[in-house]
């Protein structure tokens, strides 16, 4: 499916998502992110979550694959106060390419210079996550590919990490004891998924249900997200396990 463009051959998105579900603590989450770095040929991966716990005044949740040296340097220099990835990225719904940051400020130029010195990639993007209850997060990835290769990969990174970022965020919510509501499938989502389970394509399902193909795709997207599934087959499988498909109206 969508991820195979960039993932190394022996890794599937389905596998990534089931690994996420079994994560039991922060260390395992970082290990998972390190696995992503390898699988996607990245330099680093970082997660920063706000309002992920029900406790007020809680510090943001941080999970990063950065070296301890960079974390300490970043803290000592108080880079969090000027880091545009944090300040701009968090207030967007579009993914932010670090190339577009305003480098006119000396501090910001120094931050990115230091970052490369401490082993971050030359290119980076930050993807905002908007959760159900005004909880927010930012997932940033860096990569050291050449500029042309980066431009080519960036679009696929964006798309894959739109999904991965959200699922990492949900794993953090779970670790922090927040109840992630199991979302109900709508009748149409169930129907479309059932037909996908029968091996029908979106086009065939559209004909069967008298819908347009794009609407069937939209229902399937919704169903995949609600089930935390990588693709339609994965969604059918997960829905079967939780017997969501049998709850017909």
């Amino acid at each position: 499916m969508i991820l195979q463009g960039l993932l190394s051959d022996n890794v599937q998105l389905t596998e990534l998502l089931s690994r996420l579900e079994s994560i039991a603590d922060g260390a395992e989450l970082v290990a998972f992110m390190e696995f992503l770095v390898d699988a996607y040929d990245l330099k680093t991966c970082a997660y920063l979550g706000f309002d992920v716990t029900a406790r007020p005044e809680q510090e943001p949740y941080l999970a990063v694959t950065y070296t301890q040296e960079w974390i300490e340097h970043y803290k000592a220099q108080q880079y969090v106060n000027i880091d545009p990835a944090v300040h701009i990225g968090m207030r967007r719904i579009l993914p932010t390419d670090w190339e577009n940051f305003d480098l006119r400020s000396d501090d910001v130029r120094r931050l990115f210079g230091d970052a490369i010195e401490f082993g971050l990639g030359r290119h980076g993007i930050s993807l905002p996550v908007h959760g159900q209850h005004c909880d927010k997060a930012l997932v940033s990835i860096t990569c050291d590919a050449g500029i042309l290769e980066w431009r080519h990969r960036r679009l696929q990174y964006m798309r894959d990490f739109q999904m991965l970022a959200l699922y990492i965020h949900q794993a953090v919510l779970r670790l922090e004891g927040r109840v992630v509501e199991q979302m109900r499938l709508s009748p149409r989502e169930r129907e479309c998924l059932q037909w996908a389970g029968e091996g029908k394509t979106a086009w065939e399902t559209a004909v069967i249900l008298g819908l347009s193909e794009r609407t069937v795709r939209c229902y399937l997207e919704g169903a995949r997200y609600k089930l935390g599934a990588a693709n339609n087959a994965h969604a059918v499988n997960k829905a079967g396990k939780t017997s969501l498909l049998s709850q017909l109206p």
């Binding site: 579009l94 696929q156 997207e221």
Partner: protein
């Protein structure tokens, strides 16, 4: 042309956004008589506090505001889920690949002075330009569908300009008008149809390098 303003850019465009909130008051409270709250002549709701993405249509020569629309991720707070759940009894669509559009408005002031025939042209052109902007910005972020709540009047406009949508859930009378929840496909085909309807073949977003997500849905 269409300018993107996100939460992070708000401070750079204070007057433009203020103008948009005033325009929304005129359109939604005064003209359409929707049940919206207007304070100091500005229509602002709780979703404007969620750092949405605004698309603003500005006149190429004068820079005046011709229209605007607001986009929100469906994974977070959005109107269909939180305000109009009655339209989707089975639950509102939610996915990182689906956004919601709301507060779609064409500025009455932009065509008040025009002749009637010319005014219709401005309305149509601005409407189509905003819709093209939605498709272009969605494609930049890998978004595949946009959902929206709209009334019978907008449904007629969408049909006139060949902007295909499919109703999801159950259309319901809310206040004086029938309301629909619809889904729009953010595909090249959609952009082409709109481009032909409005003779807008070149990108409408300003200052944006073309960024296309390859269509891997059939891969």
């Amino acid at each position: 042309m269409i300018t993107i303003v996100e939460g992070a850019d708000r401070d750079h465009h204070p007057t433009l956004l203020d103008e948009m909130f005033r325009m929304r008051a005129v359109v939604f409270a005064d003209r359409l008589e929707w049940d919206v709250s207007v304070t100091d002549g500005r229509e602002i709701d709780r979703f404007d506090a969620e750092d949405p993405l605004y698309l603003l249509s500005l006149d190429d020569r004068t820079g005046t505001l011709q229209g605007a629309v607001r986009l929100l991720p469906t994974t977070g707070p959005n109107m269909l889920r939180d305000v109009f759940p009655v339209l989707v009894p089975g639950g509102a669509p939610a996915s990182p690949l689906i956004w919601e559009s709301s507060r779609f408005a064409v500025n009455p002031a932009a065509f008040n002075e025009c002749e009637r025939v010319e005014a219709n042209h401005v309305v149509n052109r601005t409407t189509i330009e905003l819709l093209c902007g939605i498709v272009e910005v969605s494609q930049r972020a890998g978004i595949e569908h946009v959902v929206s709540v709209f009334d019978a009047r907008m449904a007629r406009i969408f049909r006139t300009i060949d902007c295909a949508f499919e109703v999801i859930g159950i259309p319901t009378r809310i206040g004086r008008t029938m309301s629909y929840a619809g889904v729009f496909d953010m595909s090249d085909a959609m952009r082409e149809r709109l481009g032909e309807a409005g003779r807008l073949l070149a990108p409408v977003l300003t200052g944006v390098e073309p960024q296309r997500i390859p269509d891997l849905r059939h891969a």
